[in-house]
């Protein structure tokens, strides 16, 4: 974002021209000026939530039962960063005939319709905020005070993401109709978001909450896998019990029939079954112990990904075991 300087018409002093600001005043002779800018005006939603409150909101979110119980207590807060995320607001009015009344010569149905939509003016995947809900921004716009865009002050407080030109990927919210666009207004709105970084056993997680009203946007943590573990152990125990009962039944049956090949065949079948069951269970258990699952959630929305290959306990143990046998020194795991 460039800040150019224009000279005052009265005293020749420099006028600070700020993107998005149409009005400026000469610092020397105090004469006011209007700048007919080529870019849309910009406003910022006032941030009411400080870093401590944002951290409190994230801590509250980490009490979610989906997160591992020890995660919250053993989490170390690294830093809090304020991001100003630009959105392009497109507002306009269309006039014409309603879709149900095409080419009506002189009937009613002629009306004015306003359309409005918000587009992120930056690639939000850079800060893993693709899920930022537009409704959240729209509701914040109704509540929060809209203050003029002040790049110097904002950069001192946080990171200002640059606003790229609008792409107009979305058209009107109406179905194709016979209305024509009468006017269109563009505006850049900067939405302040707190990014809270915290670490847990060397892994860094990021959560985001709105700096306008403190609402949680996205929380990240390790998935609570204890329930899964208990269920899998119960499943293994039930399977073992079932197999034992089957073996006993087969032996009794073979003994009763006095047939020699049947116990052998039964035993083979049972061994194959046990091998198959183990081959099914083993990857699951391996995955459970060796990998961890990171969960990202916000309200009902939930997504997860497998992470932390290095931190898998079983893998770590096996590596250490191999190193002890081979005599290699332990290497530091990069954190």
């Amino acid at each position: 974002m460039n800040v150019s300087v224009v000279n005052c018409n009265h005293c020749g002093g420099p006028l600070p021209v700020v993107p998005g600001q149409c009005i400026c005043r000469c610092a020397y002779c105090r004469n006011p000026y209007y700048l007919n800018l080529d870019q849309p005006p910009a406003v910022v939603l006032a941030d009411e939530v400080d870093a401590d409150e944002a951290r409190g909101m994230v801590l509250k979110a980490l009490r979610d039962p989906r997160i591992e119980p020890g995660f919250r207590t053993r989490t170390y807060f690294e830093r809090a960063t304020l991001f100003y995320i630009p959105f392009i607001e497109v507002r306009g009015i269309k006039a014409g005939w309603a879709p149900s009344d095409p080419a009506n010569p002189g009937g009613d149905g002629y009306s004015l319709v306003s359309f409005e939509y918000l587009e992120p003016a930056n690639d939000l995947s850079a800060i893993s905020l693709e899920v930022l809900d537009r409704n959240l921004v729209e509701s914040a716009m109704l509540e929060a005070e809209q203050i003029p865009f002040q790049p110097v002050e904002m950069r001192r407080r946080g990171v200002v993401l640059p606003a790229s030109p609008p792409r107009f990927s979305r058209g009107s919210n109406e179905s194709p109709d016979f209305r024509e666009t009468v006017e269109t207004h563009l505006r850049v709105i900067y939405f302040p978001v707190w990014e809270i970084a915290y670490s847990y056993r060397g892994m860094v997680f990021y959560s985001y909450c709105s700096a306008v009203d403190g609402r949680l946007i996205l929380a990240n943590g390790l998935r609570n896998h204890r329930r899964k573990l208990a269920l899998s152990l119960l499943g293994s125990f039930s399977l073992a019990l079932l197999l034992g009962r089957s073996v006993r039944l087969a032996i009794n049956l073979a003994a009763g029939l006095r047939l020699s090949p049947i116990p052998l065949f039964t035993a083979l079948v049972l061994v194959a079954g046990a091998g198959f069951a183990w081959s099914v269970l083993f990857p699951y258990l391996w995955r459970l112990f060796a990998f961890r699952e990171e969960i990202s959630f916000s309200g009902a929305f939930e997504t997860s990904r497998t992470i932390s290959y290095r931190e898998g306990r079983l893998l770590k143990f096996s590596r250490r075991f191999v190193r002890r046998i081979t005599g290699e020194p332990d290497e530091e795991v990069p954190r």
Binding site: N9, L15, P32, Y33, Y34, P41, R91, V113, E116
Partner: protein, 190 residues
């Protein structure tokens, strides 16, 4: 990028307006200056006296008033005529026109002839719709009005253009119109 002075060309006082304004006002000279076009242009400004008195805080909303003359023809083609009419167009962008309608259209349809008076020391809502945008609406309003009567507009001519400040009452999250007494949620206008 063009730099324009925000001093009144007549009295050299600071013009009144906000960052997103396109039209700026001078109370003492009773003029409005449209800066949205390449060349600034002056328009006479009138202050409207409320028809409905209330005790709430008041804010002025600016409107463009276009005195127009248009020729119409009935859909059957056997009737023709000429009409002179004032069209009121808000000098601010209405956000939710689909839900709450256009105040300008209501004013125009009711043929308002409000009294004018002295400007009081009240806030002015930023006028972010310049004359270039607003001048499209008289044709739309006239078309909408005559379509109900099964008539078509042949030609429309703008005779004069002026600006008017209409007082609105601020009641919580609503703006109440002092001419018709209708309430608009603030979210509909901003």
């Amino acid at each position: 990028m063009k730099l324009m002075s925000l001093l009144c060309p007549r009295c050299r006082e600071d013009l009144e307006g906000a960052n997103n304004s396109r039209v700026f006002f001078c109370r003492s000279c009773a003029i409005g200056i449209d800066l949205s076009r390449e060349r600034e242009r002056e328009y006479p400004l009138q202050c409207i006296i409320p028809e409905i008195e209330r005790r709430e805080n008041t804010i002025y909303f600016a409107f463009w008033v276009f005195a127009c003359r248009y020729n119409w023809i009935s859909s059957t083609g056997d009737e023709r005529g000429e009409t002179r009419k004032d069209f009121w167009v808000p000098a601010f962008f209405i956000k939710n026109i689909s839900y709450f309608g256009d105040i300008g259209l209501y004013y125009s349809n009711r043929d308002l002839k409000p009294r004018t008076g002295r400007c009081r020391n009240r806030k002015v809502f930023p006028a972010d719709r310049g004359e270039a945008h607003a001048s499209v609406y008289p044709r739309i309003y006239a078309f909408s009005r005559e379509a109900e009567r099964k008539r078509d507009i042949v030609e429309i001519t703008t005779l004069t253009t002026r600006l008017a400040w209409v007082p609105f009452y601020i009641a919580g999250r609503e703006y109440i119109d002092s001419l018709l007494g209708w309430a608009y949620p603030s979210g509909a206008l901003i």
